[in-house]
Each structure stands twice: as C-alpha cells, then as structure tokens.
Symmetry: C2
Amino acid sequence: IVRREVTRIVSPGTLTEDGLLDPKSSNFLAAVVPAGEWIGLAWVDVSTGRFTATALAADRLADQVVRIAPSECLLSSELTEPVDLPERCTRTTRPGWAFGQQVATEALKKLLGVKSLDGFGFDEDNERHALAIRAAGAIVDYLQETQRSQLGHIDRLLPFENESTLQIDAATWRSLEIAHTLRDGRREGALLGVIDRTVTSTGARLLAEWLRGPLTDAPRINARLDAVAELVDHASLTDAVRERLRAVYDIERLVSRVTTGRASPRDLSCVGRTLAGLPTLKAKLSGRSSERLTQIEQRIDLCPELRAKLEAALEEDCPPKAADGGFVRAGYLADLDECRELMTGGKQWIAKYQAEQVEATGIPSMKVGFNKVFGYYLEVTHAQRDKIPDNFIRKQTLKNAERYITPELKEYEEKVLSAEERVKEIELRVFGELCELVVEAGRRLLSTAAALAELDVLAGLADLARSRAYTRPTMVDAPVLDVAEGRHPVLDVMQPEGQFVPNGVSCAARPDDPEALLNADNVVKGETGKAKGEGSDPAPSLLLITGPNMAGKSTYIRQTALITLLAQIGSFVPAKSATIGVADRLFARVGASDELSRGQSTFMVEMTETARILNTATRRSLVVLDEIGRGTSTYDGLSLAWAITECLHNDIGCRALFATHYHELTDLANQLPGVANRSVAVHEHQGDVVFLHQIVEGAADKSYGIHVARLAGVPRGVNQRAEEILALLESQHDNSSELHTL
Amino acid sequence: IVRREVTRIVSPGTLTEDGLLDPKSSNFLAAVVPAGEWIGLAWVDVSTGRFTATALAADRLADQVVRIAPSECLLSSELTEPVDLPERCTRTTRPGWAFGQQVATEALKKLLGVKSLDGFGFDEDNERHALAIRAAGAIVDYLQETQRSQLGHIDRLLPFENESTLQIDAATWRSLEIAHTLRDGRREGALLGVIDRTVTSTGARLLAEWLRGPLTDAPRINARLDAVAELVDHASLTDAVRERLRAVYDIERLVSRVTTGRASPRDLSCVGRTLAGLPTLKAKLSGRSSERLTQIEQRIDLCPELRAKLEAALEEDCPPKAADGGFVRAGYLADLDECRELMTGGKQWIAKYQAEQVEATGIPSMKVGFNKVFGYYLEVTHAQRDKIPDNFIRKQTLKNAERYITPELKEYEEKVLSAEERVKEIELRVFGELCELVVEAGRRLLSTAAALAELDVLAGLADLARSRAYTRPTMVDAPVLDVAEGRHPVLDVMQPEGQFVPNGVSCAARPDDPEALLNADNVVKGETGKAKGEGSDPAPSLLLITGPNMAGKSTYIRQTALITLLAQIGSFVPAKSATIGVADRLFARVGASDELSRGQSTFMVEMTETARILNTATRRSLVVLDEIGRGTSTYDGLSLAWAITECLHNDIGCRALFATHYHELTDLANQLPGVANRSVAVHEHQGDVVFLHQIVEGAADKSYGIHVARLAGVPRGVNQRAEEILALLESQHDNSSELHTL
C-alpha cells in the first residue's frame, strides 16, 4: 500500500508538476466576469506566479482568450449568459459571491500585502478596473481553496496593456497559424515553433507572450530592434550569452515551488547554480550600447549573499526530497557534523554488541531489532530461551520468539536515536532556513529571471536573424509597406534550403487627405509600385493577386501579414529590406473553417469574418483576404468580392492584399486608382506546368486546377475527362447550351 | 514542507489520477512499430487495463490514430521514417530493443501469465500479428519501468477487429464531427456529445468505442438493435435500469486501482456498494427476449461472497486513505475491538494521571507529552524543578524544561502504544485482505463491468431513441439507402424544438450486373425515387444537390452520413423510417482545412481527399461531397466536378450525395441514368428570402450569396453595390466587356 497525502486539490489550471507541464508554455488559470458590454478577465500561471488582469469589450473576449489559451476558466454560478471559451479549457463554476467586488478587492489586497491596488495600476472606483479586479479576486479565492500551501510567489497583479498592442482577432490568430497550426494544433509548423530559438523555458514563455501582444509604438519596437541588432552584430558575444543562458534554470518555477513549500533540496541547488553563472553573464553585457541590453545588465541581480549561502550549505548532488537527508555539506555546521559522527559510532557499537552477546550466550540466531514501541531489543527464539542471561529484561513475547532489552543497549539506543533525530532535525532546519532566504530574495530573483528571459528572447531573435539572413525592418508611422524579397518565415525553414522563392510587396494606405492624392510626394514609393504608370505614382493600397492554385498566392499574402507581425514584436524579418508602417490591426481571412453546431455554413463564417473586417478595419490596418466569395455561386460571389474590394479601397483605404480566383476583378485596377494587379508567374512547356512562385505585375490569364488534381492523385481517366470538358467549355464559352452535348 | 514520495513516473499516457482524467473518455498510451507497408499498433488505457493490439496497412495508421486519440505514443529510438501523429499526442522515444519480437513476446507472456499468446488470437509466427505483439510488448516494457506497482489489472490483450468495421478515414472522421467539433474540438456539439445518454463512465467510454468501430455485419447490428428496441418498448424498465446504473461506480478504474495498490478503503466500499445494487438490476433483466439483454443478464456476476465480506468489514463512511484508520466496522473482529478499547482506556488513564500529578506536586503547568525516543513523559519547567517528587526519573533536559518518566507512566505507555500499533496493524491487514479478495474477483468484476457498460450504452440509446423520436432502421445487405423525414442528429438537438426541417433521401448503388439495369425489380424503390420518371425506375445512385447557402445543403448530406453511421453502431436513427444497406466505407469531403506548413494549398487538400475517395470507394460505400472544385477558377473547377461525378456514377456506382454550386452540373441528370437532381426550396417575398430547408426534386435556379452576406453583417453599402453588380452581370451575361462600365 502506498501512502498518499492530500496536500492540495489538482485541477488543469493549477498544475505545477514539472512532468505534466510543458516548460515552454505557460499554463493559465483564467476567470471571466461578464457585465454587459464589458468583461473582466484575469489569468495566472500558478507555476510561475505571473498574474494579469484587464477589462475588455465583450466582443473581444474570444480573441483574447484564444491567445491566452487557458487550461481552466472560472465562471460564476450566477451567470445567465453563455461565455465563449475554447474547448480545451475546463469550465469551473464558482459561487457568485467569489466574484463580488468587495470580496475580490480584500482577497487581492491581503494576498499582495498592500493597502490599495493603485500601485498596480488598478483603480477600484474605475468601473472597468473593478471588473478586472473582480476576475482576479475570483482567482485568488479559488487558489486559496485549492492550493493548501501559501501563494507568496504571486506578489504582483499586472495590468494587460490592451490598447497599445496590435489587435488580432481570433480568426486571424488561428488562420495565420501564429502559435499553433490550423490542421492539428502543433506548435511545430506554426510561426512560434519556427522563430523560437530561446534556450530557457522562461525565454520561450516570454516569446509567446510577445507574440500574443505585438507593439504598436515605433519607439518601443525600435528599442527591441536596437538590442537585436547589437546582438546580431556581435555574433560571438551572442553565442557566449546563449551558451551561458543554457545553464540557467527555470527561476520562475523554482521560486514558485520554494514559496509554496513544494521545493526540494535539488531545487535549491538549481537556484544556487543559476546564481553561480550570473557574474560571467552580467560581465558579458557590460558596455553594451543599446538601451534594452544596458537595462537588462542592470536588472541582473547577482544575489551574492544567497549564492554564497547556498554553495556553502548544499552538497553538489542534492536529493529530490528533503526527508532523504544527506544534502547539507559536511563542515557547514559543527553541530551537524558531531551528530552524524555520534550516529555512525552508536550504530557501530550496537552491531559489535550483538556479536558479543551471540558469543557470550552461545545463541547464534540472536539478533538486534528495533521497533517504535520499545526501541532496540534482542530477539531470541523460544528454543533458546534457557540460555538467556539474568541481566536480560523481557519486553515482549511473540509466537516464535521473545524480545529482551539490556541496560547497555538502552544506553546506546538513546545516543543513536537522539543523534539520528537530531541530524534530521538540523538538516530540515537548514533546509527551511535556505528556503526562507530564497523566499526573501524572491522579488530580486524574479526580476533577474525576467531580465534573463528578455535577454534570451532577444538573443534568440538575433540568432534567428543571423542564421536565416533576416533583415532589420525600418519602422515608420506612415501606413506603408515596402518589402523586398520577403519570405514566409515558416515555409522558408520547412522547405529545402534555397527552394523558397522570395517576393516583394509594396503598398501604402490611401492618402487621408484627398488633396494629397494630387501631391504624391509624401507617400513612400514602392519597388514594384511603378505598376500603375511612371515613377511618380503613389504605391497602390490594394493588391489583387490572381494566378493558379499551388503557385503561392496564399503563401504570399500570409507572409506579408507575418512579416508585419514579426516586425511589431521587435524581430528582424525574412526579407532583403523592409520598411514597415506600424499597423493598428491585422486581419487575415484565409482558409475556411466550419461551425456546424452553431448552424453556420462555411459561407456564413466567411461572410461574418469579412463583415468584421469591413466594420472595424481602419486606415492604419493591414488586411489580407484569400478567395472571398467562393462559398457561393459564381455571380453572387463575384458581385460580393467586387463590392468588398471597392469598400476596402474607397471607404477604408488601408493596405490590403486580396488573392482571388475571380479574374473578372482584375478590371478594377483600371477603374480604381489605388488597386493594382499582381499574379503568379507560370512556365508552360509541352503540356507540363511549372509554377515559378514569383509574384509579377499584371493579372493572370489562366488557372491550373486540373494540373493540381493530377498532382493530388486524382485518377488519370477523371483528369483526362476534365481536360476534355474544359476545352469544350472554353471553346464554346458563349454558348452554354453546348454543355448538353458533353 | 510537504513530504512527497516518488512511487511512479507520471507521463500523459500513464495518468490514473481521477482528478486529471475525464471519466467519460479513455486515456490511451499507444505504441507504433512501422515496418514497410505494415504497421504494428497497440494501445492501453492504464486506468482501466483495457489493452488492444493490431497491425494495419501503413497508410491507415493516421486514420486509426485519430480515432484512438492517444495522449502518449511510444516510438523506437531506431526509427528512421517519420510517424504521423496528432499534435496532442506526446511522443516518447524508447530504446529499439524494447520493440524486439522476442523481448515483446516474453514481456507479454509474463504479464498476462500465459505460455502462448494464441489464446488471445495472436500467432507469433504470423508476420502481422508479430508487429502487433511488438507494439504491445513495448508498452508492457514501458509500463514496467514507469509504474512501480504491479500491472495485474492488465490481464488480456484484445485483437482489434480491423476488417469487420466500417472504414472511416481521418478526414471523414474529423469533418463529420463524430467525436469532436471541427472548429474547437469540443465533445459538446459533436455527434458523440449529443447521443451519449449513458449514466456511467464505463458506458460513456464504451459508446465512444462503438463509434470508433461501427459494425459491417447486419446480424450483429440487428442483435444490438433488438436490444435497443426491447428497451424502447419497455420504458419503465429502461428508466428503472438507468436509475440503478447511476449508482454503479467505475468498476474498471476501481479494480485497476486495487490491483496496482493505489486503492483506498473508500474505493473498496465503492466496489461493495456497486455489488449491493446488482441483484435488483439483474432481476430487472430476467425474462428479456433479446439475445444481447439475456446475455448481459447472464454476465452480471453478483459476487455475493465478496459483497458480504465488504459489507461486513467496512464502515459506511470510509476514509480516502488506509493510514487514517477507523474504517473497519466495530464488531467485525473481536481482536480489533479489544485493542481499540485498550487504546481508549489507556489514553484516558494517562489524562487522569496528569491531573493527579498536577494536584500531588502542585505544579499546574506540568504536562504529559510524547516523543519517539522515550515515549510518554512529564514535562516541568526549570522554575518548578524543586517540587519534583523522588520517584520521577529525569530523562532529558531542554532549554526551559526538564522531562521525567515514572514507572506507572511507562506501564500504561506500553499498553497504549501496543494497542495503538496493533489497531493500525489489524486495520491495514484487513484492508490488505479485502484488496486481495477484490483482486481475486478481478476478472469476474471486470466482466460484470463490461456487461453493465453495454447495458448502459443500450439503455442510453433507447432513451435517446424514445426522447428524440428515433426509429429503428431496417438493415439490409443490398447497398440501398431509403430514409423518410431524416434529421441531423446534432442540429435536431441544438436547434429549438420543432425548428429543424426533416428531409428524406433515397438512393441505391448502381446494379452490379449490367443485365440488372434492364430488370430493376431487385432494387429498392425510394420514396422520392420517382424523380427520374415513373414508378418502375430504380432509385438513383448519385444525388446532385443545388441551392443557396445557409439553406441546408451541407446539413442534408452530413445527416445522411451520420444516420448511416448511427445505424451501424446499432442505434435507432432520427427519421420517420429508414432502410439502410450496410456500407463498407464512409467518405465525407465537407468543409476545407488547410495544411500550410506542408506547403499544400486548400485546393490541393481538397483534391487529395477526393483522389482518395475515387481510388478506394467501392460499390458498397457511401460518399458525401460538398462543393468539390470551388478552390480553383470557375471553368477548371466545373470541369473537375463534372468528371468526378461521371467517375462516381460510371466506375464506382456507389451511393453518393454531391452538394454543389455549379448549376451547370445539373445537366448531368439528363445524361446519366443514375444521377438525379435535388435542391433546397426557397420562398421569395418582397425582396426578402426565406429558406425552407426542404430538399425537393429538381435543380435550383438561383443562388443567394448576397442575402447571406447581409445576414452576416456585411455593411449595407457593400451589399447594395453587390446587388447592382449582380443585376448587371445577369443582364449582360453574354457580354463580359460590359463589366468595364461598372
């Protein structure tokens, strides 16, 4: 029978076991408080103590929750409206009072040890802040009930900067495959999987956080880019830094374990080892010129006293359980050394005593034993009973044997037991003291961990930039986009070296001021911007991309969105050069997904997502659309695509890329000043088709669906028949009655 | 500091903790052994002991793995080829030798306690069986390494009946949303979520298993239907059975816990309570006429001795840990009762003694204490030291106090301690004995659990059938399909009562024998089969469905597939009447999904899935296709759709439903004898459109994409413009140059 003790209640959102958690991902517990048009949302990673709260417009909840991907979400039992959560998220119902403002505020103040939440940027009297506080409070209440140990590692509540991040809705987040692939939810194959070159778990988690909230403030983006650039320029420094970072343990989760009383001596020695590596790391960073790196250097706190203490006290190789003992270094405490000697000496005496008694009594089977009731004893079988000397005191009679004690045995017993207990006591005391020291240094350690994580992300981005030949984007405020030889960050890696065909893009939002149309000097001129005529023309705002399937239309528009996203997290981008105007929102309508159980058809989903774009995109947004309108019949779809293109061009004027099969749309380039045609180059040779994957100016004149079908393995006969039908259709284009002869 | 002991290594596939497992789902650990064209696959649910192995054609692996959805999969370190696994599945690499046939066979024989695996249907000399054995052996090796306790609950290796189940490929499994929704992977909203009316966890898991492997053998399907029918007819019996089943605990997981030494007294009492409910349950089943129910009744083993023993031995309310004690009923063992009395008496004496001594010495602060080194003692502060009587023996000096013993105290100490230890000893012994009894009865309990699970599934299906007015399908061998007033099982429930519009379907595979075309008598005539002419015509094999979006085309073809699937697991179906020819394969190409990271465009995915259908469907298959060809330009797509329709009709001749936007295809009904047109009825009134969701004979004449766009929230201006363009397109149909005037 294995004994188990209930020390806490485990639920998906409160897991802290290393074996069950992905070190590279955060495991969030969230709470949602809907209140009409606004919603309070808070989330915490119990394994690291990272705790965030915010209030959102109700219709933004789904977008935000998809990005956070909590594994568990707390909802009030009094909720009447349904809350839209991803499936993998366990819904836990909590009593309504746990979401009350007063209860929540008190619980938070008590946990965080403050008199007011103002210091964290939360104003109790502000209605929206109150919603955030109520959500956060519900989390604290739940944790206090389920996590029986302390929650001291949760010492801050971070406001989520909702306003100053690039807005990405749930459909865009999913279809651009930023954190997970669409098909099977893998991280591998998604943008995150490809750009993550971090070497620490905290770094990996921070990079994911940056992707969840790209910046919209050029100076902040540039500060990150400056640091990445400096690390790119100093390759050997970057390599050395990354090498050192590899030896850094997950301080966030270690501190969390120590604070919640779940740490082991081994955990403490990991803290010590990490600290031991910091001086070299810090030294490497001294004298850097970029602001971020200088700040990181300053934020690395060497905690020399803690390090010295841990190194002095702990053995090289510590056990995973404090109760196992033997982890305090000999020589650390005279007291402990002495007791250990006594213990060893006493046990040796008892062994010798047994041998002596066996000889003296002539009972070879006599044995020393131990039990909790009367300690050490000598056991003799009934058969040998007569040989027992007088000074043996009988203590217990068993079925086959009798147990005796002697005064000498008792004397040493006390020595051994006392020493043993004392050794254990001292080791546990030392362990407790060391834990206490780590807890005291908690905030310094966590701040150092945050600096190291940032360093890791920046160095990882530098490594990515260097190894994949990324370039530093020039960030500008004007809503332009001018990329030369851009590549899709994921396919660039997935496809064999040198196989991916790079493509440029050049576009700019339509001038705000109608006057500016006449004076195009203040608009950036794109490389390929000459499509509309001579050099002085402004870059188009909307690119229509036509051309065969499989030739890279979708890839092209996706890569444009991803390059913008990368630039706004402060990363270099896969291109020869790039000038990127900071976008406020990023929309991607690519691929289709069904929502059968809600009674929505594919086309309805497509139109709903499109409506959202038309209703919320601004002149500063970037919109990429793939095959809008194909979910309905030809004329319907064409009419809608036409009207949508006009709306994007005339009313919104934002940068937009629209890949379409409706060749008819290409006429729009002649009618609307900001629309330009692009297509995918194809080389046809003896009935075989080679897709060059190159985006060129002008519209496509042919499609290659049947060619794709052959590649996909559609039976030869079916394909031949399709070719025949196609030939007939094309030759008898104007006479549909001829179809009857097929 | 909380003490923890490492008792086993936890990984996603070996979880057994109730809190971390969904009781309604199995948690599978799988192992894969690729060997050229064949692949060995084994999977086990450690929490229940269910262990299955099989060998598959290599290209079927992905289909099977998607259905099993293991949370962890073992792969050999020597593997050179990549293995396609779902993302949620953790990949664990194991040494190559663990997959060796000899090692595997020995490990299995030892675990299962057999001399040969023949008894389980595995022949070591058969090459494919050997693959299955190697996969199973790797699992056993891994479990032995990670699960430190015994694995006795895994006592059988089941062969997976690959051949006699309805073949469903991964794309079909996903797009029909059988176990999870496509959009967000929820169980709720999927077929399983809607039809699962089971009341026990084992029942829920069995129903999922039935869905993973629907039958293709009419007699076996009918045996299940007979049972469901009997339960439908006897409503009060079914209600009573379900009520009783609610009190049945998860015997599979309980036995597993007992066998692996992780059980608690509470677990044992759950076994006892379940047994206590069985006699009534069994009695309810006596005299049933259907074969399955009769067999279930026979398979329910009341285990009366075990039940009597558990009831006699255990308290009503047992603790979750054996070490807590107090769970053995008073009166069960004279020995135990006596010790408990002694223990209580001794403790009372010691309390009294302390009071006496306080009075006698005049030291009010004197206290009795206990430690492990010298047992009970009296503690007195140094200040009171002078008042100590002579008969007190000093044992220890502390900083502030001294500790003494007295002969009387020692005398009672031994009584109390001995009794206490004895009580614990006896209770743990009783617990061990009871566990032993459960282990001995393991196989009988598991077989009873299996019978109860089947009863639960059948009763659940009966409850579903009754409450949702399902009907018993007539299963026939001829490949026909004749459903009157069929409903989509999920939408039928999701949509408000009475809102779902039922639709019939009638089709039949094309006659095998060309002669039979002339003599149509042996083909079932469908209700709506008269479309082609007069009553004597055979039912069509391929239905082309045209009509506006949102009007239910996709729903209609999906419901047809789901009704067939339901029938083949032995369920009643949502229809007024249904005659269903058993299908060998079910194909659904509905909705689109992208596979960007593999460089495949949406259209490539569509064509790959279509190619698979055309290459593997047989005359006995059922194929449903949604909008094939829309991923390319108009003429290409139409040509392909046309040729695919011809191939399905001429070469395969299977039952097929094809929803399409290509109205041009409807001409095929005039040219091919087995093709018939169906469309969705629409009511137009003053510019407003009402979709009647009714499938009627004949082709549609108009599409309603712009109407859908309005419903989806596309801005009014955009819609009005689209209407204008559409009007122009339609009026100037033959003169595309007119587009320039838009």
